[in-house]
């Protein structure tokens, strides 16, 4: 091992390193820190003489669309004396009369307000509103609105595009599942972390040591935990075949129950129900770091050969992964929490990044219908990519040359992807 040879190996990385610095520096060159925007001045001071202000005008009340008939939306034109700087209006009061009863104040709003959404109403009541502008010592009321009853709707039409796209993706998932059921072979690329699962279990078997399976610290109401449990199903099936020892400390009682069912089923499927034991899965504590303290203890004392860290992880990810690394275990990790992924990448042998975690159980099962669902996901990605490219292209063109058709198409695309409730 000569020194010269090593200096040579450095060069490509060093070159790319410096190249990157240059790129970053150039790019950051004109990143100018945002300058401070000073806010408008405070409210005008009160005077002893009565301040006359104009009343707010044109109050209009309308049904708030697509709700359970419990909200109305009130809009008005603010008083002409309501100015951002030096205005005399100090705020607005909204009054409401129910079923022709006495008008009661229901809200106090700051100057500049021009709408109010009133919730918690009843569908069988008639409401009339008026708005009062308020200065330091006087008030000016608007006229009354028309009487209105809130309406309840059965379908939220604001979500029609969301529904449509969700439907397309769901339909393609189902379509590919059905295609696969009919025996068509579907190609799915290799996922490194999952290719290693069998090998990792085999290693534990050879070494006569245990496998530690950590399903994250979230409860069953997290899809990541669901994904981890489904992967556990495949892992424990192999474990049952090889007769390896599996150990699964958990942080949630419900996860404990689900995991036991899963492992038990795998042992039954492997034809060895007698080898199953409830103590394979044990509850420790719901507390994040109490759990970590105990799992760390298990790692250094039992020295598992293979550790799976799959599911919803928070700050404990690195404590677990580093301790696992220090006892020399092979670690396969995966989570959908972007903040924790870097730690797994740094400390584990294989990491399933985000979507790969959810793909894992389908991939490991090798069943065609499960793989079909991965194809469906790809359709979703395709839609997202297409929309992004098209949207950016069109909006860039629209920003340069103001062509009407393009603007219209753009508006439509934006509308499709905008979720309003």
């Amino acid at each position: 091992m000569s020194f010269k040879k090593n200096t040579l190996t450095v060069t490509p990385s060093a070159f790319s390193f410096s190249l990157l610095i240059i790129i970053f520096m150039t790019a950051a060159a004109s990143v100018v820190s945002a300058s401070a925007v000073s806010g408008p001045a405070g409210p005008p001071e009160a005077d002893t003489v009565e301040i006359v202000i104009a009343s707010p005008t044109s109050p209009v009340v309308s049904d708030f669309k697509y709700d359970d008939g419990n909200s109305l939306i009130l809009t008005w034109v603010p008083s002409i004396d309501d100015l951002p700087v030096g205005g005399k209006v100090l705020g607005y009061h909204v009054y409401r009369s129910d079923n022709g009863g006495e008008a009661k104040k229901i809200a106090e709003l700051i100057p500049g307000s021009n709408y109010f959404k009133d919730d918690d109403l009843y569908g069988d009541t008639t409401y009339v509103y008026h708005v009062v502008a308020r200065s330091a010592n006087s008030r000016a009321a608007s006229i009354n609105t028309e009487a209105i009853q809130p309406r309840r709707e059965w379908v939220n039409l604001n979500l029609k595009y969301l529904f449509l796209i969700a439907l397309i993706i769901a339909a393609s998932v189902i379509y590919f599942i059905e295609t696969a059921k009919r025996g068509k072979k579907l190609f799915v690329r290799k996922i490194a972390g999952l290719e290693a699962v069998d090998e990792a279990i085999g290693r534990a078997t050879e070494m006569g040591r245990s496998i530690l399976f950590i399903p994250g610290i979230n409860d069953m109401d997290d899809v990541q935990t669901l994904a981890a449990i489904t992967i556990l199903g495949r892992v424990s099936r192999v474990v049952a075949d090889y007769d390896t020892k599996i150990r699964m400390p958990v942080a949630r009682s419900l996860v404990m129950t689900a995991a036991r069912e899963t492992i038990k089923a795998s042992y039954m499927a492997a034809g060895r129900p007698d080898a199953y034991n409830d103590d394979m899965v044990n509850y420790i504590t719901d507390e994040q770091f109490g759990y970590v303290a105990a799992v760390d203890g298990i790692m250094v004392r039992e020295k598992p050969a293979t550790i799976f860290l799959l599911g919803g992880f928070f700050a404990e990810s690195l404590i677990l992964a580093e301790t696992g690394n220090s006892v020399g275990a092979i670690q396969i990790a995966g989570t959908a929490r972007p903040a924790q992924l870097p730690f797994f990448i740094a400390a584990c042998d294989f990491t399933l990044i985000g979507e790969e975690l959810f793909a894992a159980s389908a991939y490991l099962s090798g069943e065609p219908k499960q793989l079909g669902s991965l194809k469906g996901q790809d359709i979703g990605k395709g839609i997202a990519m297409l929309a992004i490219l098209l949207g950016v292209l069109l909006s860039t063109i629209a920003a340069v040359g103001d062509t009407e058709t393009i603007t219209e198409i753009l508006k439509f695309i934006t509308k499709v992807f905008t979720v309003t409730n």
Binding site: M1, N6, T9, V10, S33, A34, A36, V37, S38, G39, P40, G42, P43, N70, G91, K105, I106, A107, E108, L109, I110, P111, F116, K117, D119, D120, F289, F314, A315, S326, P338, A339, V419, N421
Partner: protein, 336 residues
């Protein structure tokens, strides 16, 4: 000497050290501050020892995890005794948050959700203190709540700290009129969702057991539409993501975020998409905010330790890479 004997000796030394200083504290001993000369000497010693580690590494002797641990411990502890202060540049996202609070008119209601617990307090508590202070200075009304059980306790600690300041005492702020603490409610993101219809249904009483209706500040606050601004101090789930997805996306609330540094990167997507007005990220964000508010708090004080520890980590990354390249790419991978 056997390892066991060494361990016992070290333990005994630690106990003696603690006892000595504890007795010193009890008998009225003051805190310790290094003189600039001593501080520079300490820094020089650290640099020299790091260079020594580098030399060792070049000679082919890799250091163990424990050595790294010792360095980190020293880099975090010693700067707390040093008299230096540093200039803190303001990042745009912090400035944006400060500006958005500044544009609020006096009397505006600000909802602060404390969604963290004591372990994350070192990062978030300074933010909480300076944010509440800013609100009171600008005569904003503060409504406090928590999605984490321990959040409201943290809020009370922050309030106590802020209100003990002479400037704040002069304002004669009253509980129930200028600020309230609504306490904690279980239900995670669903709490936010239901607050969209009614605050009162989620918080029938405040932290002290006073009924919602008898608190003048919130009596007329029905839901998010009566709130001018909200600020979320978050250390995880439930927290900022939920606030953005429900309070901002569904109810159009103006939201500022105070995050632990771990969470902050994920929040930049929301900042870019215009869903939040600004972000305070980690202790650094806290320190920047403190300097915008012209107030020297804990975040500013801790920043020196922070800088030192970053330098140590960077130094070890460099040492690690030196070791890696010198020992040949393949073989270094196998060593620890």
């Amino acid at each position: 000497m056997s390892t066991k004997a060494k361990e016992i000796l070290t333990l005994a030394l630690i106990v003696v050290f603690c006892l000595v200083f504890y007795i010193r504290k009890v008998s009225g001993g003051e805190g310790i501050i290094f003189s600039p000369l001593v501080s520079w000497l300490v820094i020089a010693a650290m640099i020299i020892s790091l260079l020594w580690v580098l030399v060792l590494t070049i000679k082919g002797r890799l250091i163990s995890r424990r050595v790294v641990f010792v360095y980190v411990g020293i880099a975090l502890a010693l700067p707390l005794f040093m008299p230096f202060s540093q200039k803190i540049p303001i990042s745009p996202e912090v400035q944006a948050l400060y500006d958005s609070v500044k544009t609020l008119k006096p009397g505006s209601k600000v909802l602060i959700s404390f969604d963290y617990d004591p372990p994350s307090a070192p990062e978030l508590q300074p933010m909480a203190e300076s944010f509440i202070r800013l609100c009171f200075e600008r005569d904003l009304k503060v409504i406090i709540m928590g999605l984490w059980p321990q959040g409201p306790q943290q809020a009370n600690m922050a309030l106590e700290k802020v209100l003990s300041d002479d400037k704040m005492k002069a304002k004669n702020l009253k509980y129930g009129e200028d600020y309230v603490n609504l306490g904690f409610q279980t239900g995670n993101e669903f709490v936010i969702q239901r607050m969209g219809t009614s605050f009162e249904s989620m918080f029938p009483t405040d932290y002290r057991g006073t009924s919602y209706d008898s608190l003048p500040l919130v009596r007329n606050v029905k839901n998010f539409s009566n709130i001018e601004y909200s600020f979320n101090l978050s250390a995880g789930f439930p927290g900022s993501v939920e606030w953005v997805q429900i309070a901002v996306d569904r109810y159009g609330v103006q939201l500022g975020l105070g995050n632990t540094a771990v969470q902050a990167p994920q929040m930049y997507t929301y900042l870019n998409a215009g869903q939040v007005t600004g972000i305070l990220g980690g202790m650094n964000g806290g320190a920047e905010f403190e300097s915008l508010c012209h107030y020297k708090g804990k975040a500013t004080k801790y920043m020196l330790s922070q800088s030192f520890s970053h330098m140590i980590v960077i130094a070890f990354i460099i040492i690690g890479n030196v070791a890696y390249f010198l020992s040949g790419r393949k073989s270094a991978l196998k060593k620890k």
